[in-house]
């Protein structure tokens, strides 16, 4: 699969509508493409460019700036071992070595069966729980080499399928703005006056 499914196109359009300018939806739409295929395909980028009215080069330019977007296939599970300060002070290297050994790949590699990709990551905002890692952006805190081996075995055997979705899926809960509740996005060039409650307050309170 490469182009977005009809369902995802509908979702993409709903997201685009939330922004005063369509290009703002670029990153959210790349996430949808990555969720669909596990990585961002050339075809998906072309389609995103059409949806938001920019050139594919602009989509590529923005997309490649961000670490999380992968432009070639990666494993079903992306293991990011944090290597920044606090984790480094408390044994990040040991975790990496354990993972490398268990998976039979080096940092940056993907296993032959396409199950795992292993990366060294920058600070994951869990420094007090060092050393830590993420599998598809789900945390494992205060991890040991033994636990890393167990984690990999659990992932292999599908024991964590409920907890950890395949690479590409981030939040499994999406925002949905009900049509009858949403205020709606307006291009800023179409607005010049203060919002209603500011005008109303000048006349004596919002409620």
């Amino acid at each position: 699969m490469a182009r977005l499914t009809d369902e995802n196109v509908t979702l993409a359009k709903e997201i685009i509508d939330r922004y005063p300018r369509a290009k703002s939806a670029l990153i959210p739409l790349l996430h949808i493409a990555q969720e669909q295929d596990g990585w961002v395909t050339d075809e998906a980028m072309r389609q995103i460019a059409e949806l938001i009215g920019v050139t594919p080069a602009e989509v590529l330019g923005t997309g490649t700036f961000y670490e999380m977007f992968k432009f070639e296939p990666v494993g079903k599970y992306l293991i990011n071992v944090c290597g920044t300060m606090s984790c480094a002070l408390l044994g990040a290297d040991d975790l990496m070595h354990a993972a490398e050994e268990e998976l039979g790949i080096h940092e940056g590699g993907t296993t032959d069966d396409g199950m795992f990709t292993l990366h060294r990551a920058e600070c994951q905002a869990a420094c007090t729980e060092a050393p830590c890692l993420q599998v598809n952006y789900r945390y494992r805190f205060r991890t040991t080499p033994v636990e890393v081996r167990q984690l990999i075995s659990d992932l292999r055997n599908g024991r964590l399928d409920d907890e950890i979705p395949p690479h590409g899926t981030l939040a499994r809960v999406r925002q949905h703005i009900p049509a009858d509740k949403g205020v709606g996005a307006v291009d800023p060039s179409q607005v010049t006056s203060p919002p209603e409650w500011i005008t109303a307050s000048a006349e004596g309170g919002a409620s």
Partner: protein, 468 residues
């Protein structure tokens, strides 16, 4: 009971709490729990007041921004140019400074508190749309905030005519995709516009004047906004009763590294000292394995390092600045006597070199160069010349005096914060800061690693085809 299995990292204590008061509940992220514990009462009371009135309340609370710069939120809201609309609120939830985390916990554990804060800010400052930008790697925070937004829309706290008033606002959830620099507010705006997250120049691009889509935009940090429901409900006076006059309220601080009990603590602002934090019984309870403290980073990876000499300083911005560092985003990283100092500096320099956006030459080229020189020093293949070169390359990023801590042992006086810089934002200097701190405070450890100077090949630039 001082920690909770549902809030890993957070350590509770018998102190005044403003933003973590619900962390004790397993279901603190739900609308039910939020409403049962006074949630959205602040919003209700605010809607009965004028926006101006609420803005003044925040101004008098002296609520300081928690993103790193520590600028008063009420003043920031007032910087938008008169009569220019629409104005936007962009919530900075792209927390990624090494050592820092508290916004993630606030989003995971109490998303409604953040939402209520957003609503209050938009109401008071006349902001007509809110974008809540959450760091891409924080899947759980994204789920919790998405659920909370959906529930709050359904309950009528967000959307058209909130609680029957004329106040109408959408809050749009937006995820990043992995780029540290996007935590810088102008880069955050670029990213939100669908661009590469490269910082803009200030001036002229102060967000309050020219921000999202060129419109006046307030960028506030998650923790900053999470304080607003308390201020709205209890008033500025109750808020300023906690902490000091210049630094009121509480702060969330993450202490990590070689301490016995690393954790995220909500502390009283301005009075708690580093010694309290590192050694106090209610905090970190000392250095692990009874080791000696060697150094610590007082304000996230970008901050110049402190020595045990600075332990008695309070956690207060101005004093820390005068002592040669900064408080930044509320993150302390502790190094004990076993720490390999050059290697520790390298992990930080690597981080900033890797996270350079590539816009300015000194950061793009200088950061990587620093990393490569330091790398060979750590590997043991450097020379003493390399140590000078590190400082000279750093000087191209930060010309002039660099801030550093005082040291009694080294008979060194402090040089106060800040530094001069040739870059647009702080990422470039941040690659140099750990190098400079480590080399200034622990030069002997570097010298022990390198070979004596050999004659370096000097390649004359102008010899090659330069003249015509």
């Amino acid at each position: 009971m001082t920690s909770f299995p549902w809030a890993p990292g957070f350590i509770d204590g018998d102190r005044p709490k403003i933003v973590t008061s619900r962390f004790q509940y397993e279901d603190s992220h739900t609308l039910e729990r939020y409403l049962a514990t006074g949630g959205y009462e602040g919003l209700r009371s605010v809607l009965a007041r004028s926006p101006h009135d609420m803005h003044e309340e925040v101004r008098s609370s002296t609520l300081l921004g928690r993103g790193g710069a520590g600028f008063p939120a009420g003043v920031k809201w007032g910087l938008t140019p008169d009569g220019v609309f629409p104005r936007y609120l962009v919530v900075n939830g792209d927390e990624s400074e090494p050592g820092t985390y508290k916004d993630r916990l606030l989003m995971e554990r109490d998303p409604h508190q953040l939402i209520e804060g957003c609503l209050i800010a938009c109401y008071a400052a006349g902001l007509s749309r809110c974008f809540l930008y959450i760091r891409g790697e924080m899947a759980l925070a994204q789920e919790r905030v998405a659920q909370a937004l959906n529930d709050a829309y359904a309950a009528g706290f967000i959307g058209k005519n909130i609680l029957g008033s004329s106040f109408s606002i959408d809050i749009v959830l937006h995820w990043g995709a992995g780029a540290y620099v996007v935590g810088e507010e102008t880069a955050l705006i670029e990213s939100l516009e669908g661009n590469r997250g490269m910082p803009r120049l200030k001036p002229p691009y102060f967000p309050a004047a020219i921000g999202l889509y060129g419109q006046p935009t307030i960028v506030n940090n998650v923790e900053t906004l999470s304080n607003l429901p308390f201020i709205a409900t209890n008033g500025a006076a109750e808020y300023t009763a906690i902490g000091t006059e210049s630094s009121p309220g509480t702060r969330m601080v993450a202490v990590s590294g070689h301490v016995r009990r690393p954790g995220v603590y909500e502390i009283i602002n301005g009075t708690t000292t580093f010694r309290d934090l590192l050694y106090g019984e209610e905090f970190c309870q000392g250095i692990r394995d009874d080791n000696e403290l060697k150094a610590f980073v007082p304000g996230g990876g970008s901050a110049p390092w402190f020595l045990p000499d600075q332990l008695d300083l309070p956690f207060e911005g101005r004093l820390v600045g005068a002592a040669g560092s900064m408080l930044g985003s509320g993150a302390i990283m502790v190094m004990d006597s076993t720490t390999d100092i050059p290697a520790a500096a390298l992990t930080l320099t690597k981080f900033y070199a890797h996270e350079s956006c590539g816009k300015c030459v000194p950061c793009r080229e200088g950061g990587t160069w620093l990393m490569r020189i330091l790398d060979r020093v750590v590997e043991g293949t450097g020379t003493t010349d390399d140590l000078d070169l590190l400082l000279e390359v750093g000087g191209s990023i930060c010309p002039g005096d660099m801030p550093h801590a005082a040291s009694a042992d080294l008979q060194l006086e402090a040089t106060p914060f800040p530094y001069k810089m040739t870059t647009i934002c702080f990422v470039g200097p941040s690659a140099y800061v750990p190098v400079h701190s480590a080399l200034t405070l622990f030069r002997s450890e570097f010298e022990a690693r390198v070979a004596p100077s050999r004659t370096r090949s000097r390649i004359p630039v102008t010899a090659v085809g330069a003249g015509s």
